[in-house]
Chain length 241, copies 2
DNA sequence: TAGTGGTCTAGACCACCGC
DNA sequence: CGGTGGTCTAGACCACTAG
C-alpha cells in the first residue's frame, strides 16, 4: 500500500520537500523552531521514513534546516546564502555567448617559481616549474589573461603538451586529475603587464580569479586569471529555493 | 546478512563512493568511460543497490559522472569546477576574524528607484522604495559599503525597522524570507561616492558583490556591496573531492 | 538511557530512452 | 523492446547525544 493519496504518489520526496519548504517560507515553522521528527512526518505524509529522510536531507544540504541526532531538526536561524559559481573552461564560456574563441600562448618557460607558489604547490626548493601566460580572445578582443604555474612533478607530460589546440587550462583539466581545489576572487588595479595584454588602461579594475589545485598533497597548478573591467561572474543558479 | 566484508560494513555508501572516486582519479575509469551499472556494482561491493545508488548519485551531484537512464553512467569529460562561496552576513564575516564589527547607516530615504532596480524587483512604476546606504567597519576601518534598495511591497515592516542594532542586511535576512536569489561579482573603479565612504583613493579597484532576492515573483531587495582593494572572497570548501 | 537522525537491506515498480 | 537509473517501501540496526 504505497499510496494513500494520489497527490503524494505522483510526487515522491520532492513533493514532501516542497511542502516542508513552504512551511518554512511561509513562517509556519519559524527560524529556530523544531520540526516534527521523521517518523511523525512519514506518518503525516503517509510515506516511508526514508522518503521523508531524503526530503529533509535535501533541505539540510541547502542549509535551510540543521539536524542533530537526538536533538531533532530545526529551521536554520540564518539561512546561509551559498552561492554556487560555475568556473567554466574559458573557451566554453566564450563560445556559449556565440562568439569565436581563440587563445594565444604568450610565454612558456621553465623557471623557478616564486616562493609563494612554491610553498602552496609543495614544489621542492630549487626545482623548476612551467610558467605559461595565455591570452584568451573573444571575437578578437581580449577576454582574459591567464598567468599560470604548473608543477612538473604532478604533470610531467605537460612538457610535451601542445598548447596550440588546447589552452593550458583545458589541457590540465583533461589530462591531470585533481582531488582538491581552491578559488579566490578579488579586484585589482591592473599592473602594466596585464593591462598591456588585455589592452586596457593601466590600473583599471580587473577581476582576478586565483585558482589552485592539488592531487593529494602535491600541488598541480596555480593560476591567476585577470578579466577586464566590466566582466561579471554570476551564480549558476538561484542560491536558494 | 548485511555484511560480507567488515571493511564495507564499517563504511557505508561513502566507502563505495570513495572507491569509485579512486578509480576515476587514478584513471582506471577514464573520462568518457561507461562505468558498471548499479546492479553490477552492488554485486561487486556486496551491498544493496540503494547503497550504490547513493554513492553514484553523490558523484553525479558533484558533476564527476553523468547519468542517463538507459545509457548508463559515464565519467564526466570536463569535470566542471563548481565553486561554492559562502556569502556571509558581514557582521559574522568580520567577527569571525576576531575583529569588532560596527555599521553606520549613512542614508535612509524613500525614493523612486532607478529603472533597472524597478524592473528587476518588479516594483510598480512611480512607487517608492526604501534606499539605504550602510558602511560596515571592521575594527574601526571601513570594511564594506552596502548600497541597497528594498521593495516595500515585499517587506512593508521595514519602514519601522531599527537599523541601529541590526544592519539592513541582517534585518532582511531575519525578517524577510526569500525563495530565489542571484549574485554577481565584478570589479569596478570606485566612484567618488564609494571611494569616500571606504576611505580609499578614487578609482581604486573595488570588488563589487551584487545581490538580488525574490519572494516568488516579487523582488525583495537589490544591493551592491563594495569592498576595498585587497579584499578576497574564498571558496568555503575545496571545490572537488 | 531513550529518542533522534543516519544508514542499510531486499524487493518492487516505474520512467526514460538507446537499441 | 529491454536495460538503465530513479524512486519508494517496510523493516531493521546503529551512532550519537540531550536530558
Amino acid at each position: 500500500m504505497n499510496h494513500a493519496d494520489a497527490a503524494f504518489r505522483a510526487a515522491s520526496w520532492r513533493c514532501v520537500r516542497d511542502e516542508l519548504l513552504r512551511r518554512i517560507n511561509e513562517r509556519i515553522w519559524r527560524p529556530g523552531d523544531l520540526i516534527p521528527n521523521e517518523a511523525a512526518l512519514a506518518d503525516e505524509f503517509q510515506c516511508a521514513r526514508a522518503t521523508v529522510s531524503r526530503a529533509v536531507r535535501d533541505l539540510a544540504d541547502k542549509g535551510l534546516v540543521t539536524r542533530r541526532r537526538r536533538a531533532g531538526t530545526r529551521v536554520a536561524l540564518n539561512p546561509p546564502a551559498r552561492a554556487v559559481f560555475q568556473i567554466p573552461i574559458l573557451r566554453e564560456e566564450v563560445e556559449a555567448k556565440g562568439v569565436a574563441h581563440r587563445h594565444i600562448v604568450l610565454e612558456r618557460a621553465l623557471a623557478a617559481p616564486p616562493a609563494l607558489v612554491r610553498h602552496r604547490l609543495a614544489i621542492a626548493h630549487g626545482a623548476a616549474a612551467l610558467h605559461v601566460a595565455t591570452l584568451h580572445l573573444a571575437g578578437g578582443a581580449p577576454y582574459a589573461f591567464d598567468d599560470r604555474w604548473i608543477h612538473l612533478e604532478a604533470a610531467p607530460e605537460v612538457l610535451d603538451a601542445d598548447f596550440d589546440r588546447l589552452s593550458p587550462n583545458e589541457w590540465l583539466v583533461q589530462n591531470t586529475p585533481y582531488t582538491d581545489g581552491e578559488i579566490a576572487l578579488s579586484a585589482e588595479d591592473a599592473p602594466e603587464r596585464v593591462a598591456t595584454r588585455l589592452n586596457i588602461a593601466p590600473k583599471s579594475a580587473t577581476l582576478v580569479l586565483e585558482r589552485a589545485t592539488w592531487r593529494g598533497d602535491t600541488g598541480v597548478t596555480m593560476t591567476r586569471i585577470s578579466f577586464p573591467p566590466g566582466h561579471r561572474i554570476f551564480t549558476s543558479t538561484g542560491f536558494r529555493r
